[in-house]
Symmetry: C3
């Protein structure tokens, strides 16, 4: 077990909520397929002459994971992968996830709908001996509805009904394509100067055009339809997780202003390297929250610096821990270790220099680790 109890005060064990992750891969991984998964989301393979094990994440996985499978820290990747295959993907996941101390996983459905390659929330709960809830990825939902719809009218009616139905059981919605995530250039559906709900006639026209040119399984990228989809989700009141995908979330200021006061929270996922901008938006808009996200795992010994920057302007009730893991349970291990070390170093340092009261530090650590997520997503209290 990772010593998560060391979060500032050893006497106050903290209940960790992984507020955004994907299911673990159930397939066996070779050296190459494992390495590719260490890359940035949407990244390709390593450049010729380089390896993705030469990254902060690669070094962090080699530091923290081998001991949990009975090997020495920093052992060669091939040795680690051999041990992983020896145990099998699911037994590896079980050992790694149970070592994290995470008590609840919020699992994004982006990539695991209709396949048996990834664990769904139920299997994540079983593997991790923890709770798990489902996050519904809006693009995939719309594409599934489109696959069974006859025309624009039935598509839009089906979309409205499915979003409403999912809201009853899902813990949140998520969306990448509408918020800069597709291009990284800030040209997403919510970044127009008028991020209001589009007019019904325009929605119907866009739906007809998209369906007419679409083959089964075709991806939803139309900005107007994505905007409609986001507003449909907003209407349910479930928290909406937005992935800026490397773009500056300051571009979402207009969307945040347009959705203020409606009772639906927005969570800015994985905002690095614009985590200060995400924290600032969380300080300006009561309904906007900032995810610490995979940057903690991916920046290795720099996690403390990234955490400290996020804590500069975000109200402490507005920051949320997550692993952002995408298939490898190693990312949950590294995220928790990086987060725990960073919290101890940063908050503990402020207590040591007299800037913060010790009781405040312990309380804030608990909020970020899981307390804020429990409040935002309506999860049962820790230990409850």
């Amino acid at each position: 077990m990772i010593e998560t109890a060391s979060l500032v005060s050893p006497a106050s064990p903290v209940s960790l909520v992984d507020q955004h992750c994907h299911g673990v891969l159930r397939t066996e991984l070779g050296l190459g397929t494992f390495e590719t998964r260490l890359g940035a989301p949407a990244a390709g393979r390593a450049a010729a002459g380089t390896t993705l094990f030469d990254t902060q994440l690669g070094f962090a996985v080699r530091r923290w994971c081998p001991p949990l499978l009975g090997l020495a820290p920093h052992c060669p990747p091939a040795r680690y992968l051999a041990r992983r295959r020896e145990l099998g993907a699911l037994e590896t996941a079980r050992r790694l996830l149970r070592a994290t101390g995470i008590t609840t996983y919020l699992v994004d459905s982006a990539a695991d709908e209709g396949t048996d390659e990834r664990s769904g929330p139920e299997e994540m709960a079983s593997l991790g001996a923890a709770g798990a809830r489902r996050i519904v990825r809006l693009e995939r939902l719309a594409e599934r509805v489109a696959d069974v719809s006859g025309g624009a009218g039935s598509f839009l009616a089906g979309l409205a009904e499915t979003v409403h139905t999912e809201a009853a059981t899902a813990v949140a919605f998520s969306c990448a394509s509408g918020t800069g995530g597709s291009s990284g250039t800030g040209g997403g559906a919510c970044e127009s100067e008028l991020p209001e709900p589009p007019a019904p006639g325009a929605v119907r026209g866009a739906a007809a055009r998209w369906l007419a040119g679409r083959r089964a399984g075709g991806a939803l990228t139309d900005p107007l339809l994505l905007r409609h989809l986001l507003w449909t989700a907003i209407a349910t009141g479930r928290p909406l997780q937005l992935l800026p995908g490397g773009a500056d979330p300051t571009a979402l200021t207009g969307f945040a202003a347009a959705t203020a006061g409606l009772g639906t929270d927005l969570v800015l996922l994985d905002p690095y390297p614009y985590h200060r901008q995400a924290a600032r938006l969380a300080s300006v808009f009561p309904h906007v929250y900032a995810d610490l996200g995979p940057a903690l795992a991916r920046t290795g010994p720099r996690a403390a610096a990234v955490l400290a920057e996020s804590l500069e302007s975000a109200p402490f009730g507005k920051l949320l821990f997550s692993s952002g893991a995408r298939g490898l349970p190693e990312l949950q291990v590294v995220a928790v270790r990086a987060f725990t070390e960073a919290v101890d170093r940063v908050l503990g340092g402020w207590v040591a220099e007299g800037a913060w009261a010790a009781a405040d530090a312990t309380r804030v650590a608990g909020l970020i680790a899981g307390g804020n997520a429990r409040r935002v997503y309506g999860l049962p209290p820790a230990g409850g």
Copy 2:
């Protein structure tokens, strides 16, 4: 008295100029109204289940202000507010401001024109036992002129005359709406590809449209009129303070290029989280300056990191201390404490490791604390 004399060299007391603040609130504040003032400028109330005392600024106020009113550091907010009401708003302001060591306040007129809720420059001087000068907010000036103008012609003539008249006594002009401050999305009046002075005919048309649709007190948001207003202010030669309002000031590159060599200085106010970008602009354009601003107070123990980042590329003659305080004299206290600690830690650290000569560190600390502001705004020398 806060030990401002500890700025690197105890033998060289430094004269602090607060180069941008607003008047202190003269009304009594309850726990809720005080808390709201801890939020980011333009922010609303705290999210449900959270409090704005759970911010770096909230923690810093609790750390540094209670002792100045005879209470223990980190005492509960309710206890502090009770003591504040016991003393009264003005006596509290007197005690807090006089503890800062600030010798000159530059007070923005943005919010205190025509009301008796806030101290003007004269009262700030009296409360703080210091000097004070007035900064004229351009939008408010234009709105006052519009309130008494019959049509576009008399409005534009009155505007030109009033800006000219104010320039004779004001220490600087300031503007938020034209520089991204309104939307945070970089779409301000000065960020167009052609940030030149607009043509007279276009200005007259925009003025007529604005006045026709305006009721008394209506805000000026028309981009073309704002651009005209900025160029009118530029012509006076008084320094012009620009508030990017959370947007990247790199978008002002074109405006900086267009105004270079005219003899008017631009001061980028409160650029966080783009303080490195503001510092870089100050390194590229001789007439551009960067404000350290409320980020020092609002980031608590991270003020040293923010200061160090600002010092990476800005010439040391181009950085200016300010509190950016908006009504609470507590912000001046926290800003000065954060600045003093940050300077000692950052510049003192560079001297200790041999990177800087000690005499240089003392000199640079004095420049940023007040020397640069005295030069830019034409204030009398310290002690003079």
Copy 3:
């Protein structure tokens, strides 16, 4: 000799490649002309009442360079300049460059074509007792071709032939104007939503218009022609160095996506203050690399922080050391000292705290110092 051998492991001397610099100035410099060269690229003179010696670069030059010319550290600038003139520009360059340990200089032709004011690659090699290769600046190349072309047809044919010819001997191409460098506002030729090669007819039209309005020596700023020029260079397979010039390189995401898989590497030069964004792009696209650049020299004691931030998300095979020096050999001295100290502090610190294995740190230091550049530019191996 600067102790470059201290890069993490004293037993492993590292071979430094300066992967982007300009030739040293061969003319004698006075106090004023030297001072101006300390400013940011494209910056003007210092603001009235300030000096560019009051910058991190100014302080760093005074710290590190006087001892190499027999003076005391932090001696007054006038004393240093007098000694510099006493030795002469070329003897000063010889002493300074040979103290750096740089083994190969990649010298940009941007400013030294057709003049005798700057050392070309051959003289840089001779002065530095090192290897040197030439980087061809695309804008200058196009302007030279335009100077001798009769019309659009002969210009475009000449351009294609000259780029092809240069590719046979140049180590890389470089471009500033097409990538935000001209305006700093992100409006460069490669930042359009469709960064594809422009159509031949449109290129011919743009060439005709440009040539018709051009006098000999006139600069190339037409976005469409610049885009054509970049794609012409891409086709050669030589690495292409892009200067974002203070703009966020995230705006180049579309261009990076459009050029992926073509076999030509893109190197983002001098990305500060967006070095984290450049590092992130290098993590997403296999063919994108990030330059550490002049920020190391220009941020003085903050070089370690800037390096650490670059190392957060960039794969370690994707970061490249350079001085970015523009005429003063002092910049190479400061860049190497800053880099060496930063590597020792950052990587050494991670080894000390157990985050990295010592052998990994030594290996990564060697990659960034020169190993990656040797691989990307096809240079002979160190010591080879």
